[in-house]
Symmetry: C2
Subunit: 347 residues, 2 copies
Amino acid sequence: MNPPEIDTQNRVTFRVNAPEAREVKVINLSDEMAMGAAEYSLTKGDDGIWWVRTNPCRPGYHYYQLSIDGFKGADPESQAYFGWGRWTSGLEVPSTEITFYQPKNNPKGDVIVHWYFSEITQAMRKCLVYTPPSYRTDITRKYPVLYLQHGAGESELGWTMQGKMNFILDNLLAEGKAKEMMIVMDNGYAASPDAENKARPSGDENLFEEVINNELIPEIDKNYRTIVSRESRAIAGLSMGAGQAMRIGLSHLELFSGIGVFSGGVRNFNKETSFSGVFKNVDKLNKDINLLWIGCGYLDRGFENIQQFHRELEDLGVNHVWHEMDGSHEWQVWRHHLYEFAQLVFK
Amino acid sequence: MNPPEIDTQNRVTFRVNAPEAREVKVINLSDEMAMGAAEYSLTKGDDGIWWVRTNPCRPGYHYYQLSIDGFKGADPESQAYFGWGRWTSGLEVPSTEITFYQPKNNPKGDVIVHWYFSEITQAMRKCLVYTPPSYRTDITRKYPVLYLQHGAGESELGWTMQGKMNFILDNLLAEGKAKEMMIVMDNGYAASPDAENKARPSGDENLFEEVINNELIPEIDKNYRTIVSRESRAIAGLSMGAGQAMRIGLSHLELFSGIGVFSGGVRNFNKETSFSGVFKNVDKLNKDINLLWIGCGYLDRGFENIQQFHRELEDLGVNHVWHEMDGSHEWQVWRHHLYEFAQLVFK
């Protein structure tokens, strides 16, 4: 791999070896500002290599792909990430100022790949489990658990590979800014045995809610030193995962006391009927929920919708934390969301 | 993803969406027999999708890539694996008979992603650590450790993703066929701080031997419940990793007592000078090494060379296990190698 070069102005030079192609493009899969344009056409250099230097890009992680005579695929010179339902290229534009998600020379937690057999889906599943640095040394201690979900077309790998969640937590813990916690990341798709679309089931064919409540939580509580109580269990997610966190969290307050909603989760909110009607009894809700955290970037197409939901919660008197920031529907925002949410949950 | 379809005769149908391309090929990156031909030219169907059905393929894991008007890249419809120095496509042709590497409904070990800072390379490194199913429940028990290395152009992910090492061990342990052990998989490339090629350093610029002996082993022994002794430490690897296992293992018998050499490791063997001359004193070597395991597939281009080495060891009276099997320089063979080696090591 000769990864794309990034200059001091965050302009990126892509090079593609496609000797017989007639048209080569870099397609930005995020918003235009992320990579300075929706797409770039490359030109063939004297050495036969197609190339382009982009406009300045925004710091953070951006999905992109190549187009070679209409074929859309990953850039062989880049790291591949699972997103958009396939292995896709990612561009990490570094920031000298924003370092909370960069690995530092401090104690490191582990990310454990944990396999289990799911009776509900009749399939092997795997989840990723973050344990904080003290987990291996302080061998009798028990920890609260955050269940943390990815977005549509991504997988259980997203929060570690794209999100750098382990470094975010390591850094927060090294500075004493968050409670020590475990974080469990499962795949938000759990196809029923007879589902047509096994990879991305939707509606009744996606049994994720049943799997997390009836299989995953017991599996984690059995195999790790967790504090088994609703006070020490939270659920959060981004985009599709935000919707899952809201739906599953609010309808299972016997299991969860913290809910994190990152850039998603609400459409056509109705205080009488949405989320099994839990917003009808605000006093009970405020007692049951220790933390309801809602965040979104200004440039997100769903921003106004989510902001409106936040205002309705304010009007209703529902305790919650609202977080808005520069950024769109992308991982740089979700890294910030986790960074903020993790400082408040379980406290 | 709509992964390639595999029929009952192991013929694989590839489909590629490349509307404006003039030439689309599937390139087999393994030997011809793995996928039935070195490459396949696709034809454009009435629906505009290029396609081909291959000759019967051999069961196992085969690297391949697409060629689109001369551009070589991964198949967006397939799982990507790190091999050939980049994210490359892999084809897993299932076998109904050979199931030792398939996940079964038995106790599962963990694969832990373990980060550490390396003073020698002045960089963060990550290794993968397999702990057997009992590790989490039997919390005072200590385990022997196998250090297991990938091949050239691969990474610390290879043995888990391509090799399915965790399922191989889970299955062996469930049947009582192997000693319970930890397996540590690091990246065999460890660039010196001033190396020109950071991703794939070679010669003096690759400090892997220094890293494993002086940083990795102490890191693992400090953080996990290992048995800290040469009798309970082994090193094995495939191809480039076989060479590393031989060189590092034989020149550090104070650290290792077991050595696994999978499809590589020997060129121009000279009993007087090779491997720091350890083969000059066969009696000492036979006392120091508990297991020297050497395997190769018949179809491997290096087969005769390695078989010749095995015969010289026989003539010298060096205790070792020799394993030959159908197969070439590919993961299906290395899965078998680990399966066999793991049943003998630490016994």
